[in-house]
């Protein structure tokens, strides 16, 4: 899954065979992962899947039960946090309430033999960097949530750590501030070039910020890849289902590249299963293409528009396809397409399910997820 440029680099952070148990409960099983220098990596997964646990193991805040973590070529597996090299930002910000913003940011710069003037210059620089140059004398409680989060970020990067860890840094903010801060954090990360690992359960956040995403479930890694890979080429049904919307249709493999749903045989390029295997066929709503009248295509299926909902930039329709049996398909049509093909509620039309977009996953995998 790694692209060519990253394959030639040496990884900055390397996690090998990492396990974590809490009593009898296994929170992480056999995690191996590499993070490249300067990369922005996201851990994405449902609540309780172990994202925070993995992040805290990397930080040394809660040591893993077994397995190694190395950073910049150094084995840090059993070191306490103070002997590692990272900055961290938490969902709660964890700003020291009784210290001014300046002193919060300067906290990690003190006791390191730096002259006072240098510390104060660095604080000013950081305040400007996060866009809050005038707020240094205030206390955390006097700032908004978004401002507090930026201060927490400034405090975390003050000492120029080699690794920046973010645990759901934006999830305590309201939606608008969150979207805005996404860009700022990403921008800042690019500017500093600091290797960053962020935990989130918000897929939009992960897709828009990450260079690569690690999708996790039940304490294991389901898939690692760029946002586009994760979205377009999900390797498991869980990933397919968790990221974006996905139609899931029970099907049986006819031969390589062909699956049967009900009475109808569909082309599915990537399917490599044996004849007769029960699979779940998966297609994204936006990949279902409406066919204009008169355009002839042997693979097109007749469909009826059962419901139709305008969602701003597109329409989401629910289609019934008699050929596929008693199921309904979710399909997203652009405004253009709706105008061009003239789609409306109750109307019959023909849709195409592109062979390169139709995926098949083993059926029992679906039962498990």
């Amino acid at each position: 899954m790694l692209d060519i440029t990253t394959q030639t680099q040496k990884p900055y952070l390397e996690i090998r065979d990492l396990w974590k148990k809490f009593g009898d409960f296994i929170a992480l099983r056999d995690i191996s992962l590499e993070v490249m220098e300067g990369e922005f990596l996201c851990f994405l997964g449902p609540s309780g899947c172990g994202k925070t646990t993995l992040l805290r193991a990397i930080a040394g805040l809660d040591l893993q039960t077994s397995g190694t973590v190395s950073q910049a070529g150094r084995d840090v597996s059993n070191l306490p946090p103070a002997m590692r090299d990272f900055g961290i930002v938490f969902q709660s910000y964890a700003l020291f309430p009784n210290l001014t913003i300046e002193r919060n940011i300067a906290y990690g710069l003190e006791n390191q033999g730096r002259p006072k003037a240098e510390i104060s210059a660095r604080v000013t620089e950081l305040l400007a960097l996060v866009g809050l140059p005038e707020q240094g004398k205030k206390y955390p409680a006097q700032l908004s949530g978004g401002q507090q989060q930026r201060i927490a970020l400034a405090r975390a990067i003050a000492t120029n750590p080699g690794l920046l860890l973010l645990d759901e840094p934006l999830s305590a903010l309201d939606a608008k501030v969150r979207v805005h801060l996404r860009h700022e954090v990403k921008e800042l990360q690019r500017k500093l070039g600091v290797t960053t690992v962020m935990v989130t359960h918000d897929q939009e956040e992960a897709l828009s910020m990450a260079d690569r995403i690690v999708v996790m479930n039940h304490g294991t890694i389901e898939q690692v890849g760029t946002p586009l890979e994760i979205y377009r080429e999900p390797e498991t049904l869980f990933v397919a289902d968790f990221i974006g919307a996905m139609n899931q249709i029970p099907a049986v493999v006819e031969e390589a590249g062909k699956i049967r749903v009900g009475t109808c045989v569909l082309q599915s390029e990537h399917n490599v299963f044996d004849h007769g295997t029960a699979v779940i066929a998966a297609i994204r709503p936006e990949d279902i293409t409406p066919m204009a009248d008169g355009v002839d295509d042997a693979d097109a299926l007749p469909a009826n528009v059962e419901t139709m909902e305008f969602l701003g930039s597109f329409y989401r329709a629910s289609l019934s396809c008699p050929d596929l049996g008693n199921i309904s398909l979710m399909a997203d049509f652009s405004i253009n397409a709706v105008r061009r093909v003239d789609i409306s509620l109750g109307k019959s039309l023909r849709v195409k399910i592109p062979a390169d977009r139709l995926k098949a996953f083993p059926a029992q995998q679906g039962a498990q997820a």
Partner: protein
């Protein structure tokens, strides 16, 4: 699915940083403190309670010479010798650990001037005997002249078992105290909780005026020793009491006095707990009840009481515990009515029977522990109620009800303020009831037995030391339990030790200290009889409430402060100094004033431990009252009151100052 057995070895062993070592060191020191100041003394006491001592005569042999000093007669076993007498010279009864038995009674012809010689030995290495104060054991024969043989005493052997308890429960005079204690505690609990409930209810749910004043009056009893109401009751209802006729021939020296005084000194404790319970009940429930047009009475039973039930139970068990373990009040006003706490005192101080004192302590521990355990359960459920979000209740004016509540709170306040007023009056009157002129004569403590002004100074020293040392120890301990990582078992043990003191009555702790620290073999023996042991016992006695206050304050702090600080490579003590302590300052002040006030008023925790150099004001009240100097006792009680009131005012000012200075950064809370 893999199981935890599939996790490949080796497991990661954390490498401890400097902070980890320092933190562990601190925790070990404080845990050691609790072990030495609590666990070991209690163990010493328990082992005393289960030990009995008897003389094992068969362990010794004697041979008596003729007048010329020739040992021609056979060797005799002491047990056989004793059995030849009817009745035996040495009884079979039990003794205590200090028991000594002379042997000359076994020789009717004995005279210390006689030339007869004695050979004496123990038949086993465990057989211990003294010649004078010189200790001997074992089977070596010792040849002694008559004059020396006179000074031979044998020492008892120890058995472990329930014999002491058998003796206790077959002594009606002692078991009567169990019934008395339970009876008194139950009655006092019912009365106090009822009174306190309506008082708290009036404060929380009515629109009457002067609530602030009432709240303050209700808290007054905390500032005085529990035996002070006893003195006031003597002035009011005693043999020459102002209101003696109110009792219609009954005597105040006994259950009536104890119950009245107990209601006085336990009232604020019940009031605080019930007030908290009422404050967190949900306003929305009331609105729902009102909108359903439920009657006041129905709302009360379906909303108020269920909402406050855990608070009520909790208050009941706390009051019960306070009453059953209190010593000062029944000592002053109990008369011939014996209760457990006073029995411990009588056994130890009066009869020097330490084993029996330990037995009564164990008996007293049972209800105290039970009440404590149930209270903890109640508190937990109360907290669960709290977490459901509630809306603050705003009472609406109701003229008739407000007036009734006002009248009620005035009555209760008169009772409380009246008791203290009577003490003040007693302290200022020259000679009740014959010379009612005012004078400060009673404050001339140096003229009385009991320690004089020195005892007052000692009390101040004790209170200040307890407040300072106690706050440091408690806060550091709570910090280590709450905010450090790893070392889970150690922390769990520490938490358990920290909860224990609340279940241990002061008398029991004091007695346990005698057993543990007054043992010459104990390297800490040197603190016995000094101010140090008083400070240690007081800090330990009041540890739990302080610990819980500190833990609550620390829990409210973001759990990630430590993580952030460590990631920034700063030592934990920097965070502790710059953030943890300043943010917890209100709680820290609360802990120190709590410790100060309690150190000033406590009697039970220190009554066995003070020496002539370290007499305390609260003990002086007890002793002067005992000696019949009741007016000076009242005056000394009032000195404690002034001091505590002053300390509380200082505390309020300091708290306000701190809140003001931190206003800017606390704004968001």
């Amino acid at each position: 699915m893999s199981t935890i057995d599939d996790i490949p070895r080796p497991f990661v062993k954390p490498r401890l940083g400097k902070d980890d070592w320092i933190q562990r060191g601190f925790m070990a020191v404080i845990a050691l403190y609790l072990i030495v100041a609590l666990a070991l003394p209690l163990y010493a006491m328990l082992s005393k309670a289960f030990s009995t001592y008897t003389f094992d005569l068969s362990q010794y042999e004697v041979q008596v010479s003729d007048e010329d000093g020739h040992f021609t007669k056979p060797v005799e076993n002491i047990a056989n010798l004793n059995a030849r007498f009817d009745p035996p010279v040495i009884g079979a009864g039990s003794t205590n650990s200090n028991g000594r038995q002379k042997l000359t009674g076994l020789f009717p012809d004995f005279s210390f001037r006689s030339p007869v010689m004695y050979r004496f030995r123990g038949t086993s290495p465990e057989a211990v005997y003294l010649v004078g104060s010189e200790r001997h054991t074992g089977p070596e024969w010792l040849e002694l002249d008559s004059n020396t043989f006179r000074r031979v005493v044998i020492r008892p052997v120890k058995h472990v078992g329930l014999a002491n308890f058998t003796t206790y429960f077959s002594t009606p005079a002692l078991t009567q105290s169990v019934r008395n204690s339970l009876w008194i505690a139950t009655i006092s609990t019912i009365i106090t909780v009822t009174l306190a409930f309506w008082f708290a209810y009036a404060l929380a749910r009515s629109c009457m005026r002067f609530k602030g004043v009432f709240r303050m009056v209700a808290m007054l009893p905390i500032l005085v020793p529990s035996l002070l109401p006893g003195i006031a009751l003597v002035y009011l209802f005693g043999n020459q009491g102002m209101l003696k006729s109110f009792l219609m021939g009954e005597t105040i020296y006994g259950p009536i006095g104890i119950v009245l005084g107990s209601v006085f000194f336990t009232f604020p404790h019940a009031m605080i707990i019930i007030s908290t319970a009422l404050a967190i009940s949900d306003a929305r429930l009331y609105e729902a009840a009102v909108s359903l047009k439920a009657s006041r009475w129905k709302t009360f039973w379906t909303v108020t009481i269920p909402g406050a039930r855990y608070g009520l139970f909790s208050a009941a068990f706390v009051v019960f515990n306070l009453v059953i373990t209190d010593f000062g009040l029944p000592k002053v006003i109990g008369g011939k009515f014996n209760v457990l706490a006073v029995d411990i005192y009588k056994q130890v101080i009066g009869q020097q029977n330490f084993e029996m004192g330990a037995v009564v302590s164990v008996v007293l521990l049972v209800p105290a522990m039970l009440a404590f355990a149930i209270d903890r359960q109640m508190q937990k459920k109360q907290v669960a109620l709290l977490s459901a979000r509630s809306v603050v209740f705003e009472p609406k004016p109701n003229r008739k009800m407000d007036r009734i509540f006002f009248a009620y709170t005035v009555l209760v306040s008169i009772f409380i303020a009246g008791i203290i007023g009577v003490c003040q009056f007693a302290a200022l009157i020259k000679f009740w009831p014959y010379d009612l002129s005012l004078s400060l004569h009673n404050y001339n403590f140096d003229l009385m037995d009991g320690g004089g002004w020195g005892s007052y100074k000692n009390s101040i020293v004790l209170a200040v030391l307890t407040a300072v040392i106690g706050t440091v120890v408690v806060f550091l301990g709570a910090y280590m339990v709450e905010k450090t990582k790893g070392f889970e078992k150690g922390r769990a043990l520490f938490q358990m030790l920290a909860m224990l003191p609340m279940a241990i009555p002061g008398m029991v702790l004091g007695l346990a200290y005698i057993f543990f620290f007054n043992n010459p073999a104990n390297p800490l023996n040197f603190i016995y009889g000094t101010m140090i042991i008083l400070v240690v016992s007081t800090v330990t006695h009041f540890y739990t409430v302080s610990h819980l206050t500190a833990v609550t304050a620390l829990k409210q702090m973001d759990t990630e402060f430590e993580s952030v600080s460590a990631s920034l490579k700063q030592p934990f003590h920097k965070l502790f100094r710059q953030v943890t302590v300043p943010v917890s300052m209100p709680a820290i002040l609360n802990i120190s004033i709590y410790l100060f006030v309690n150190a000033m008023t406590t009697v039970s925790a220190v009554v066995f431990l003070y020496s002539t150099d370290t007499a305390l004001a609260s003990i002086a009240v007890l002793n002067m009252d005992d000696a019949g100097d009741i007016a000076p006792a009242a005056a000394m009680g009032m000195m404690i009151f002034y001091t505590n009131a002053g300390a509380r005012i200082l505390h309020a000012l300091a708290s306000r100052g701190i809140l003001k200075r931190s206003e800017a950064w606390r704004k968001g809370d």
